[in-house]
């Protein structure tokens, strides 16, 4: 098995109010498409209740950044009591949704994605040694790539949902993880 390191652990975004659910999904998938990530939609659940729709989605977009490293982002979207409403703006009616939303992000960096360095214990040992000391910079570049894309996505979602944003938020996730 390749080694998968958890780099961003459960970054959460919670929102309650009016939002555009199809637009949010469209924005997230377009973001990954534009940046050349591959798309995996592991789970997509939608239930219609009298109180509104309930949505549970798990996405696993990934990017093979080199022959050795792979970045994976796990996005879990939970929506409850989503009801469709109409909002009047500039004389026209816009169909939107109202409800509760929670998005959880996890970021992983997978190394040795072809499992080439695991056939013998000595190879595995050499790989660990190389990863930790010799190719430390490569590893940190993969981490930075992941932070950067995840931060951009997080900020785009915040902008899309029109929530309060701190001006110097750009390196927020890196600061949170690296200290």
């Amino acid at each position: 098995m390749s080694e998968t390191r958890l780099v961003v652990d459960q970054l959460k975004f919670t929102y309650e109010g009016i939002f555009d659910m199809p637009g949010l999904h469209q924005m997230i998938s377009n973001f990954f498409y534009e940046r050349g990530w591959d798309w995996i939609e592991k789970l997509n659940t939608e239930q219609i209740f009298p109180t509104g729709r309930s949505v549970k989605i798990e996405l696993r977009p990934f990017k093979n950044i080199t022959d050795y490293y792979k970045n994976i982002i796990r996005i879990r979207i939970y929506g409850t009591n989503i009801k469709s409403i109409e909002v009047e703006q500039g004389g026209s009616r816009i169909p939107l949704y109202e409800g509760k939303l929670m998005i959880i992000f996890d970021g992983y960096v997978m190394s040795d994605r072809y499992n080439k360095w695991e056939n013998k214990p000595i190879w595995w040992f050499i790989r660990t040694l190389m990863d930790k000391y010799v190719f430390k910079d490569h590893m940190s570049k993969a981490d930075q790539w992941l932070y950067s894309d995840l931060e951009d996505l997080y900020l785009r979602i915040k902008t899309f949902m029109n929530v309060y944003r701190y001006v110097r938020e750009r390196n927020m996730i890196s600061h949170q993880v690296l200290g």
Partner: protein, 179 residues
């Protein structure tokens, strides 16, 4: 044994009112459109309980891409608490199904489906060399991507039919063909 490369599975769950007969036909049409040969391997209809009937179906569809490569897609349906409801739409009566639906999508990329390399130990070694070294990029980048994004197209087609909130398919043009 032919070499098989499985695709990441995905799951769609839905609870509510939908046109089951229409969905059945839409998925079968999709396979026909992409020249897959569709097989219905299992069709189970269980004795209805007071909550409704239960159905289980398993489909697989195959396409011989060339003498060496074959695509296989698998779809399994499971429906619980099925009840039929008559709805009037545009002045016409229509029979819809109210149920809990689960659709599992998966598949695999099959190499040497005619087992031509299975004759001797030498040909088997040649096969491994061909798949894992000489033809490696083609396996993942050309055929692997083609079957995976085609499966993702089917996934989007089902979501669109069920009119889910997340029906947007950003990767629609990825293979340069219509869904």
């Amino acid at each position: 044994m032919a070499f098989e490369d499985p695709l990441p599975p995905s799951l769609i769950r839905y609870r509510g009112l939908f046109d089951w007969a229409g969905l059945y036909a839409a998925i079968a049409d999709w396979f026909k459109h992409y020249r897959f040969i569709l097989h219905e391997e299992m069709y189970k209809h269980k004795v209805p309980s007071p909550l409704g009937a239960e159905q289980e179906l398993f489909w697989y569809a195959e396409e011989d891409v060339n003498e060496f490569v074959k695509f296989r897609l698998e779809v399994s349906f499971h429906l619980w608490d099925m009840t039929e409801i008559e709805v009037v739409k545009d002045g016409k009566k229509k029979l819809l199904t109210n149920a809990r639906l689960e659709i599992k999508l998966g598949g695999k990329l099959i190499f040497d489906w005619q087992n031509r390399f299975e004759k001797t130990k030498f040909t088997r070694a040649l096969h491994t060399l061909y798949i894992q070294y000489i033809y490696r990029r083609e396996t993942s980048s050309i055929w692997g991507d083609m079957i995976y994004y085609r499966l993702l197209g089917l996934h989007a087609h089902i979501k669109q039919y069920l009119d889910l909130q997340t029906k947007w398919h950003a990767y629609e043009g990825y293979l340069g063909e219509n869904r």
